[in-house]
Amino acid sequence: MPDRLRTFLLAEPADVPARTRQETLAEALQVAFRTTAEGPFRLVRRYLDTFDGRVEAAGGGLFVETPAPPHRDGPAFILRWETHTPPAPQHSLPVESVPERAGDLPPGPFRTALATVIAPRILLPVFEVARTARRLEVRNPAGKVVARLLIAGPGTVRAPDTDQTATLPGLVWLFPVKGYPKATRALLRFLREWKHLTETEAHEFELARAALGRPPRRAVQPGAGLEPGERADRAVRRLLGHLLDTLRVNEPGLRDGRDPEFLHDYRVALRRTRTVLGQLKRLFPPEALATFRAEFKWLGQITGSVRDLDVYLLRMDAYRSHLPAPIQPDLDPLAAFLERRRREAHATLVAALDSPRYTALVHDWRTFLEAPVPEPPPTPEAGAPIRDVAARRIWRAYRRVLKKGRAVTPASPPETLHALRIACKKLRYLLEIFHPLFPSKPVKRLVRDLKALQDVLGEHQDFAVQQETLQTFARQMAAEGTAPAETLTAMGRLEAHLADRQRQAREAFAACFDRFTRRKNRDRFTRLFRPAS
């Protein structure tokens, strides 16, 4: 692939001499090649990523830079997405402001590619890198540009959240121009022979992260650091402590309220906490357990109302696409209604987070989790190795799924499927939380098939709920007087479509359940989790 971007590290001695190495290199290139040079100018790049590092995980770096040298009529920024590995996206786009969502970009492939990676999260500034740079354009005898180089001196990287700074080595980028491989090769040869340059596959983004000594942004895996032989109640308390950390980490994002994913992650940690408390009752003293379960249930309700509205707002695009183009705008009043309701629900949630009740819950929960475990263990199960306890619990949850699933017939009412869905959820959380205690591959396979089954059940339930909710919304909007007739008509058509989709999910159920309970998976469950008795 001759067209890919190449990067070289440029070593500069610490005490800056009269003539820097970037100057020497730029001059040597101008002697060896026909070039036009611009600079030196200040090059500032603001790197963007989501809270959980989705851009980095997809490979490469996404940044805005001020066009250099700036020109009067030019755009305010250039947004770039650079990778070293084609055919990953190499996009650039002039923008007037730093984008927060994919939807801030004009429709087109950049927006689509970005949405696939980050939606529904928002982009946050991660680092800012400032350097002095020169741009060289290498031309052929006809005056045509055949390659571009950017030579940048040592830089400073700053993290906007902590104001922490670090220095970065100089860098040289070679941007090949399509269709001129000879020039690219000649320049590569030249740069590889230059003694202060080393080629690197790292992106500036990774260098900046390393210079600040930060780990890659990854969501914390639940159950990390579980020891199979550890006493069950101690292990589970530590695990619940991790989940509490996840709750706390996402709180600022919940308050801010722009990025729905913080709330989503918060609720996943919350549901896992509640599943552990419900499924592993015997590890805890009953009176403490009852209080905490009630309090977490309250949190579930408070966050649930905002999450539901978030989900409906995220679905609006899909809803519009289910309707014929001319009547799509008829749904706008519904979107406005949802926005209003969400603002109210969000205010309620922030008030709850600021309430003494919440502060007390977090404090008491932390104290409870960090207290030494009672000696001797209050119950035999509390003193048993965590691995055995987890296996027993997973086995029981699995048997329950089998029993409920096998009872489903084509004539079963939706409630039966809903009960099965709840059982699947519990099994899924247990599998995910205790995943590190068991061989990774078979558990991954089981979770995959279970997830497919849950998706079908979830859709079935979801489409039913959505129809009811839309009717409720319609009634509330009518009462407010914010529902034009055409909006109600459009919502009615949407309901018909959702009823269709619900039927489809119902028809797909049997196949998914058969797949999940096929011989191979049953053997896996038996091998991994069946009690030895």
């Binding site: 650039s92 004009p106 429709p107 045509k144 269709g179 001129y180």
Partner: protein, 253 residues
């Protein structure tokens, strides 16, 4: 990928200048753009200082022995690439004719480029030939530059008549006036008369020597003379087209 073909029955109406300037503006606005020079004169390639070396490759290209990507050259401008032409393109009709289903051939060739570009601008050879018919079959928009004279308008009528009897359902046709000399009464009258027709764009491109300088500067007009009236006219033309090229966005997530 959206296909915009710049076409006129007769030559010499500023067709290539239009294709080059619009492709440049499209790339400047962030769209990954490919300009395909299909004119044997290779004027578009010349404007970008690109020396085509296609000679024997035309046959291979049309027959699918080499992909168009192998011939693509990057221009001096970000996001703007060019598929160059040389004098061998005068045989394209013959070469197309040697293949099965010649009218579908060009469309097949372009398929692998679709994921890499947002806009494909075609600088078409004049006249009605197998090449132009193939283009009518795949283009989404046919852009026709016209001189504001009766004779030039007649060619447009002929083109519309011809297309009426052809099966190109997805093709929309838009004309606009170029080389407009405001001092000539005839020009003024013709422009006014066609202002409200829905197959005509509102923008007119003035006659200006700065446009002719494109051959000397070997660069797109909005790049070397952005403040001139002619460059502003191309900007307005592009702004009029841009809205038509992007269909309303569907769901983005």
């Amino acid at each position: 990928m959206q296909l915009l073909a710049v076409y006129n029955l007769k030559g010499g109406v500023g067709k290539t200048a239009t294709a080059v300037n619009l492709a440049y503006l499209s790339a400047r606005d962030g769209y990954r753009t490919l300009l395909w020079d299909l004119d044997p004169q290779g004027a578009a390639s010349f404007y970008f200082r690109i020396k085509p070396r296609i000679d024997g490759k035309l046959r291979h290209l049309i027959r699918g022995k080499i992909t168009p990507e192998a011939l693509v050259k990057g221009t001096d401008f970000e996001r703007l690439d060019l598929l160059p032409a040389d004098f061998s393109y005068r045989h394209m009709d013959l070469v197309l004719n040697e293949t099965g289903k010649p009218e579908r051939r060009l469309g097949r060739l372009l398929r692998p480029l679709a994921p890499q570009y947002d806009h494909l601008v075609l600088d078409c050879p004049p006249g009605i030939s197998l090449v132009s018919e193939s283009i009518f079959g795949i283009a989404g928009l046919l852009l026709v530059p016209l001189l504001p004279t009766p004779l030039s308008l007649r060619t447009f009528t002929q083109l519309r008549q011809y297309l009426k009897h052809q099966p190109f359902p997805d093709l929309s046709v838009l004309a606009f006036f170029t080389m407009v000399d405001r001092r000539k009464r005839l020009h003024r009258e013709v422009c006014t008369a066609f202002l409200d027709r829905d197959d005509f764009l509102k923008t007119t491109i003035p006659y200006a020597s700065v446009v002719e300088r494109m051959g000397v500067e070997q660069a797109p007009l909005p790049h070397y003379a952005p403040r001139t009236e002619a460059a502003q006219a191309y900007e307005a033309l592009w702004a009029e087209l841009r809205g038509r090229l992007w269909k309303p966005a569907g769901p983005t997530t």
